[in-house]
Amino acid sequence: MAQIETTGLSHSYQPQPGYPQDFVLKKLDLNLLDGHAYALLGPSGCGKSTLLRIISGLLQPTQGRIHFDGKDVTHLDARQRHVAEVFQFPVVYETMSVFDNLAFPLRNRGLDREAIAERVADVARLLDLTEQLTLKSAALSAGARQLVSLGRGLVRTDVNAILFDEPLTVIDPQEKWHLRTRLKQLHRQFALTMVYVTHDQTEALTFADTVMVMHNGRILQSGSPSELFERPEHTFVGRFIGSPGMNFLRCQFDGNAAIIGDQSIPLQKSYSADIDDHSCELGFRPESCTFSRDGSGIAAQLINVDCTSRRKIAYLDAAGSSICVSLPADQDIPADSHRIRIDPQRALLYSADRLVEESR
């Protein structure tokens, strides 16, 4: 497995890109460490699949370079880069048995018969495919096909990275669950370098050590799942991660408290930067606010309530914005006059969509 680095990587699908909006990737500098699992998370059209295709060598970037373990591979094609990829629609060679599918990359590289049989048996055991080895791959379920296509990457010993392009899209929800955990276990077991592209935050957060949130060809934040959840560096990240996403309320800042309407929320932190009042927002998770019972807090108007098996989600209008409050299913929502109390410890200050760092 290898460390993957990109420098100034830009890509445009237009032959003569001029304007910044022609680019689907904008000057990306990434450093993907050997043996780590990464997820590229973002809405459709954010450039995540393009980035993956550039890493795998299926696409040549317009600008910038890409290095594997320090070696420049920018102009090498997919065959020479030694990467494995699992695609959105499971690719199996339908006329071949599962065994032959797994053996295919090794036969292409001219390994001898015994070495192939041994390697395939190992990988089949790992993926629980031993019993299916003799089956025609056309007879497999979508989940099993996806395992076979992953297996074709795992049998090779020369693989630099395993890339996943929304691999669970066409998998049934029940199978999805098992496949996801299987991937996670494989990663833990073999310290594989993995890059996983998805628009589904649950998949990204559960799979990766580091999640990179992409938007409009840029990476807005890269961090561990809990960092992204607790301290989104950009309002887009806050809204995108979490279900429902983070609440943002316009506020004014007087040096140590956020002022929303007639309420002052002491933030108990000090900020060094000058903060522009016009673009100031207070961000807080639906999980870090509650209904206050003592008449304090921000006045809000209840719009409706959704219940899931584990939580109640209240949608409200407060200070001109719509916000959500998420409560454990056994807590009741007060019948009249709703006021919201925000946990100041977990509230964050944003200016011009960016997180304002506290000074230590």
Binding site: A78, M96, A138, A139, G153, V170
Partner: protein
């Protein structure tokens, strides 16, 4: 989810007009032929029953056997050349862009020419006196004359058929290749597959259906070929290029041997039917497996 196969009684009513049409212009003429094949006449519209005598005579005569042999050889050669050649052309065509469409136009040209015109073109093309090909070949010192030499006649007729029909195979295969999702090529590239492995395991499986159709179409057409070789060689020199249908016409219209001709056409018809059925069964065996793809 598969579409349910069920019985809708009303659906049969919709098929009825077609059944009547087919009955009128296929079954009734066929019955006339059957009628001729079991009777004989001495004129005066007087017919008498001869049973299977015509069939025995056709099968016992060396003439039918020879024509059948020539026919099988011709069809085999034509299939052996056209199918791989068409496939290779399809594989070599660009996948998209203006070049793809212009190649497509060029390929389609021979298919648009009427059969007797094709025959005439090649008849003139191959002539040693005024034909471009014929005189050129002779000019380089090769003795070529399709009106006198049996081998030359065969080469000409086969070259003509290949020129006329390879495009059909190529176009069919090309459309089949277009249905291979791009992601399969990407996966194969990542798996380090060679050009041959990509063809064998990615492209060929997806071409299977199309190849069956190409095979059947070319088999039937070449097995029943009449116009083009008749225009070029008239079945000669001697009987060298007298294929089944040419022989049948000679028998029926040249000698006015209606009973024998009817028996022969029935045997001919049964052979075509049998071979088509055999091809189809053998080549679609693999498709009867349950398909779990969504």
């Amino acid at each position: 989810m598969s579409v349910a196969k069920r019985n809708y009684p009303k659906a049969w009513l919709l098929v009825l007009p077609v059944v009547l049409m087919v009955a009128f212009n296929a079954v009734i003429p066929l019955m006339t032929v059957v009628n001729y094949s079991v009777q004989d006449t001495f004129g005066n519209n007087q017919f008498f029953w001869v049973g299977l005598e015509w069939f025995e005579e056709v099968l016992r005569s060396g003439r039918f056997g020879d024509a059948l042999g020539r026919q099988l050889l011709f069809t085999t050669l034509v299939l052996l050349i056209e199918i791989p050649l068409g496939l290779m052309i399809a594989l070599g065509l660009p996948k998209s862009g203006w070049r793809a469409s212009s190649y497509m136009m060029l390929l389609a040209l021979p298919l648009l020419i009427p059969w007797n015109v094709v025959g005439t073109i090649w008849q003139i093309f191959g002539r040693v006196d005024i034909g471009l090909a014929g005189s050129a070949i002779n000019a380089v010192g090769i003795d070529y004359n399709y009106t006198q030499d049996a081998l030359d006649a065969w080469i000409t007729v086969i070259a003509m058929d290949v020129w006329h029909w390879t495009s059909l195979v190529a176009l069919l295969c090309y459309s089949g290749l277009k249905s291979v999702p791009e992601v399969y090529y990407q996966a194969a590239a990542i798996d380090g597959a060679s050009r041959w492995a990509i063809f064998r395991y990615v492209q060929l499986p997806r071409l299977r259906q199309v190849l069956i159709i190409a095979f059947l179409l070319r088999f039937m057409d070449s097995f029943m070929i009449y116009t083009e070789p008749f225009v070029v060689t008239g079945g000669g020199p001697g009987n060298a290029t007298t294929f089944l249908s040419i022989d049948l016409v000679k028998l029926a219209l040249g000698q006015f041997d209606l009973g024998q001709a009817a028996a022969m056409s029935l045997i001919y018809f049964l052979i075509v039917l049998l071979v088509c059925w055999l091809f189809y069964t053998i080549m679609s065996v693999g498709d009867s497996q349950p398909d779990t793809r969504q």
